[in-house]
């Protein structure tokens, strides 16, 4: 992969689906972050700033950050001034994570990375206000599409490796991660150590398989279906279903990068048959 023509421009219309999905996930996350911000302004609530010189959360800051975030996320989803809205959205997310350690989450971090990569990859070229107005460059750099793919695989690989580590260390934490309330609650008696262990092993295999199979045009459709089913199962079974719904939407949206054929390293011929 080191010999890929990184600067070469390719037609990547499928990235539009990634931009729309990530933009919608960012809208959902924006509502959640605004609620957290609001909570942080409550007197007596702990503050753990990453750096001391940033302002403390206040009602005015909640309003400014919330408005910036939601406007930029909406603009990004519909592809309106995509580069500007993507830059503002990523900066707002980064500012939020810097403001207090309690605002960090894996899905917010993932969303920020995907917004940066999609912005760099000119994801506003299709199915967007920009393309209608003729503003955005239609072609995308190979580097941007490749990094989007790599990011998805990296997340799956390390999620799997950390589950391996945890499965040996603490079945209690694994068991506590399952949903215990609501219609989809798993009865206590069902969560035996054997079942929890089997589910952990299953998730490890699925994640490792997805990290590899998504790169194969022959397996891409199957990987997409299995990935969708896997994320749906996580949302249904896990205690933190809302966060995992946002996480799943972001991950599944980024699958679109695998539907964009990459060129051959030297000749510029297409490395893969397009599947879409």
């Amino acid at each position: 992969m080191t010999g890929l023509p990184w600067d070469e421009r390719i037609d990547a219309c499928d990235l539009a689906w990634a931009r729309i999905g990530v933009g919608l996930a960012a809208l959902g996350e924006g509502v959640y972050a605004t609620l957290l911000f609001d909570r942080a302004t409550t007197p007596g609530v702990l503050r753990v700033p990453v750096v001391d010189w940033l302002p403390a959360p206040s009602s005015m800051l909640v309003l400014i950050v919330g408005a910036l975030w939601l406007t930029a996320a909406g603009g990004f989803a519909v592809g309106f001034r995509t580069r500007t809205s993507g830059t503002v959205l990523a900066a707002t997310m980064a500012f939020t994570m810097m403001l207090d350690l309690q605002f960090y989450s894996n899905h917010l971090y993932l969303l920020a990375l995907l917004v940066v990569l999609l912005t760099a990859a000119n994801a506003g070229g299709y199915r967007s206000f920009d393309s209608g107005a003729g503003r955005a460059p239609v072609a995308s750099p190979v580097s941007g599409v490749f990094l989007l793919r790599a990011q998805v695989s990296i997340v799956y690989v390390f999620a799997a490796l950390s589950t391996v580590k945890l499965a040996y260390a603490s079945e209690v934490i694994l068991a506590a991660s399952f949903r215990r309330t609501g219609a989809l609650a798993i009865p206590d008696g069902w969560l035996t150590p054997d079942l929890v262990g089997a589910l952990a092993v299953g998730s490890i295999f699925v994640e490792l398989w997805l990290a590899i199979a998504l790169w194969s045009p022959r397996r891409l459709r199957a990987a997409t279906l299995i990935g969708a089913a896997y994320h749906a199962a996580l949302v249904a079974l896990a205690a933190d279903g809302l966060a995992l719904a946002i996480f799943g939407l972001a991950m599944l949206s980024a699958y679109a990068a695998f539907y964009v054929p990459l060129p051959l390293p030297a000749s510029g011929l297409e490395l893969e048959e397009g599947v879409a």
Binding site: T2, W6, D7, E8, L36, R39, A40, G44, V45, L46, V48, D100, L101, Q102, F103, Y104, S105, N106, Y109, L113, P141, S143, F146, L147, A150, Q151, I154, V155, F158, A159, L161, S162, T163, K165, L166, A169, S170, V172, I173, L174, A176, S177, A239
Partner: protein, 111 residues
Amino acid sequence: MSQASRSHTRFLVSAYLLLQVGVPAVQLAAPDPARYGWQMFDAVADADFVLIDDIGLSTIDPRDFVVASRADLDAASYLPAHLCAVVPETREVRVLRSADTVPAVFPCAAP
């Protein structure tokens, strides 16, 4: 496309990949769940917080004093000093984690 531009892009791609593989790899060795490591199972470990003042002791719900309960942020490290500051008359905070048998004691500094 100039050679300089190609080298620049190759450097950026390499740096991004190095960071995105290196940081989670290092975090695998950190206590669970570590940030920036894509560690998804993050059930919050239980801990009881007891405040001691001149009258006696009272148990508090730590969720009342944080923005969000996060497993990757050990409340027992940050919360005692905060409780000393915001709950009047508190002389001492005791924290009993579910994995421990003896509570950790955090005396509050005299006002």
